[in-house]
Amino acid sequence: MDRRTRVLIGKPGLDGHDRGAKYIARALRDAGMEVIYTGIRQTPQAIAEAALQEDVDFVGLSLLSGAHNHLFPEVARILRDKGGADIILFGGGVIPEEDIPGLKQAGFKAIFTPGTPASEVVAFIENELKNRN
């Protein structure tokens, strides 16, 4: 068996700044993962459908435009509705400290704020994988 960790990196919302998303995508690739990047301005539904078709273990969302309180939980809800409740969610971007508990409540295992080194995201994923097995 040759199993690889698969991660989808999605950018919902209207901002077109995907430097951060691409930086994380490359770091995860360099850590030996298969990374699917769906590009900017994706609807929650498009991100969720892609995650299901790609059978990913993780979905990471990146957002700078401030609509995270609506868009992040929406991705989580669609995934749950469509049988993807086992997919582990994390998020990143410009997210105020006070919003983090709500997002965790909505199903996000981790929220990374700007300046987080990619190694921290890699460590998070590896740790989650260990806990799952």
């Binding site: 690889r4 490359r26 360099d30 699917i36 991100i47 078709q53």
Partner: protein, 322 residues
């Protein structure tokens, strides 16, 4: 949904999650994959597989995006397998093809799956072929397969596709010269993409020169100029594609498909059998390598011995049946 339904039944009904799982099994070389394909096999409807290959950045995914739209306008359900190279060092991969087709993500009539080639020994063809069959079993027709045309990959895609399109772009005239035989011979259709850019005439001349060198007995592939980005030339491309698809007799295609599947599987099981024999005769590949380096055995001799062992086993088997 009945949870006792088998994975095969759920795939056959077109359940996305089940289909995604089945594809992962194939991709991972899961021991259950063979059983799954066996169960699905007899219920796979007639379908066509279109391979799209070409150098990195030629516009294959952009073209696939257009092709999906085109087949959707005919109300056909489209399955896509997009293969990208894995890093030989880390095993990781950035699977970027979906990015260009993502506008179809919410269309229930389209299923897109990205795959890393994972540096598979013997190439990607086994997993890609089986992934295509699973998509077909779920009712997707056509199945489109994108592979980067470097090294062996483009030849392999031709092995599993009914029609193979080679995508080339201006500025690669020298590369076309270098490709000559191999890659040109597997193409049923040559797409010259990025027609909005200069250099198309040189490219077309280079392609024509290369085709001159191809064997006489093969039909010359049509050469079509398009711009996948602007949409220019696409109608002519669809006409060529339709002609190629309709010129293959469905019965014959089915037979050829089955032959290819069989040959692929024989190759895979032959390799597995060879490894089993090797282990029983020499312990392990490394032990055999040591014997070879030590000069007491040659690889050829080892190969012949394994064949003789297999022959002896078959004879004993026959004697027992008498």
């Amino acid at each position: 949904m009945n949870s006792r339904d088998t994975l095969a039944q759920r795939i056959h009904r077109g359940e996305v999650r089940a289909l995604a799982r089945g594809l992962s099994m194939v991709e991972n070389g899961d021991p259950g994959a063979g059983e799954l394909l066996h169960t699905l096999f007899s219920a796979i409807p007639d379908h066509v597989t279109i391979g799209v290959t070409g150098p990195p950045g030629a516009g294959k995914s952009t073209l696939l995006d257009r092709m999906i739209t085109r087949f959707r306008s005919q109300e056909r359900r489209v399955g896509v397998i997009a293969v990208d190279p894995s890093s030989p060092f880390t095993g990781g991969a950035l699977l970027g093809d979906r990015l260009r087709m993502q506008s179809h993500a919410v269309d229930p009539g389209v299923f897109i799956r990205s795959m890393g080639n994972r540096g598979h020994l013997g190439g990607i063809s086994g997993a890609t072929r089986d992934a295509g069959l699973i998509l077909a079993a779920a009712g997707y027709d056509p199945v489109l397969v994108e592979t980067v045309g470097v090294g062996q990959a483009e030849v392999e895609v031709a092995e599993i596709a009914d029609v193979t399109a080679l995508v080339l772009v201006p500025g690669t005239g020298d590369e076309v010269q270098a490709m000559k035989a191999g890659i040109m011979e597997i193409a049923d259709l040559i797409v010259l993409n990025k027609a909005d850019r200069p250099g198309m005439d040189q490219l077309e001349a280079a392609v024509a020169a290369s085709l001159e060198l191809a064997p006489e007995d093969r039909p010359r592939p049509p050469v079509v100029r398009v711009s996948a980005e602007s949409g220019e030339g696409l109608e002519a491309l669809w006409t060529s594609l339709d002609l190629l698809l309709s010129s293959t007799d469905p019965e014959l295609r089915r037979l050829e498909n089955t032959r290819r599947i069989l040959r692929g599987i024989l190759g895979e099981s032959g390799a597995r059998f060879g490894e089993m024999l090797l282990r029983s005769e020499y312990g392990s590949e490394n032990e055999l390598l040591e014997l070879i380096s030590g000069g007491s055995v040659t690889p050829y001799e080892a190969g012949l011995r394994l064949v003789r062992v297999a022959e002896r086993m078959l004879e004993e088997d026959e004697n027992q049946q008498d």
